[in-house]
């Protein structure tokens, strides 16, 4: 039972690391400001969810009221990030649109 919990925690932590790596590479490689927001907004949220899930599973392997309350608090962080990260991304897009930043096209690049 103990080793199963450890395997699940390792699986979720490595999965979150893969999602974070994908988001970071997307922020580097995308050609445009608006397309850069696509990995930044989604993959970071999913990476935080996966990594905190792994830490919660590891935290619950000696079950008591204290660790249960701690795990609920960790999931409150995930809940807050699920609300805040799309809002922050939308606000950055809105700032770009209002500042007159036009999207990237193939023809514009050749000029």
């Amino acid at each position: 039972m103990h080793i199963l919990i450890n395997i699940a925690a390792v699986f979720f932590l490595v999965m979150g690391l893969v999602f974070f790596l994908g988001g970071a590479v997307g922020i580097i490689r995308m050609p445009d400001f608006y397309s850069r927001l696509h990995p930044a907004g989604k993959l970071d949220t999913l990476g935080i969810f996966a990594m905190v899930t792994g830490l919660v599973i590891y935290n619950l392997h000696h079950f008591s009221l204290e660790t249960l309350l701690l795990s609920i608090k960790m999931f409150l962080i995930v809940f807050f990030v699920f609300l805040a990260s799309p809002t922050a991304t939308h606000s950055i897009v809105d700032a770009g649109m209002r500042a007159g930043l036009r999207p990237w096209t193939q023809k514009k690049k050749k000029e």
Binding site: A24, F33, A40, I48, A95, G96, R98, A99
Partner: protein, 95 residues
């Protein structure tokens, strides 16, 4: 398991270098803001891992929550500040 947590923390620090490049050399101000937001969302998980390494998760959970909130407020305030700036489109071609 503590050794594994420290390995994950070091890997997370190495991943944070990639958005740091976007923060330093981003063509516009808003690209830098995207990089700062990505680094902040990784730092929340890093704080939880540091809590496991020190054995004080109950304290570091509060710090991580406060950090997530501060990151959100900072990005909102900066994007409200920069939306009045003109000439971002020309700036994005300077590279």
């Amino acid at each position: 398991m503590t050794y594994f947590f420290s390995c994950i923390a070091v890997a997370l620090c190495l991943i944070m270098v990639l958005p740091l490049y976007r923060c330093l050399f981003g063509p516009t101000v808003l690209d830098r803001l995207v990089g700062v937001n990505a680094i902040g969302s990784k730092t929340v998980v890093l704080l939880l891992l540091i809590g496991y390494l020190y054995g004080r998760v109950d304290m570091f959970v509060d710090i991580a929550l406060a950090y997530a909130f501060l990151n959100f407020v900072a990005v909102l305030a900066a994007s409200r500040y920069f939306h009045k700036r003109k000439g971002l489109y020309e700036e994005s071609f300077m590279e």
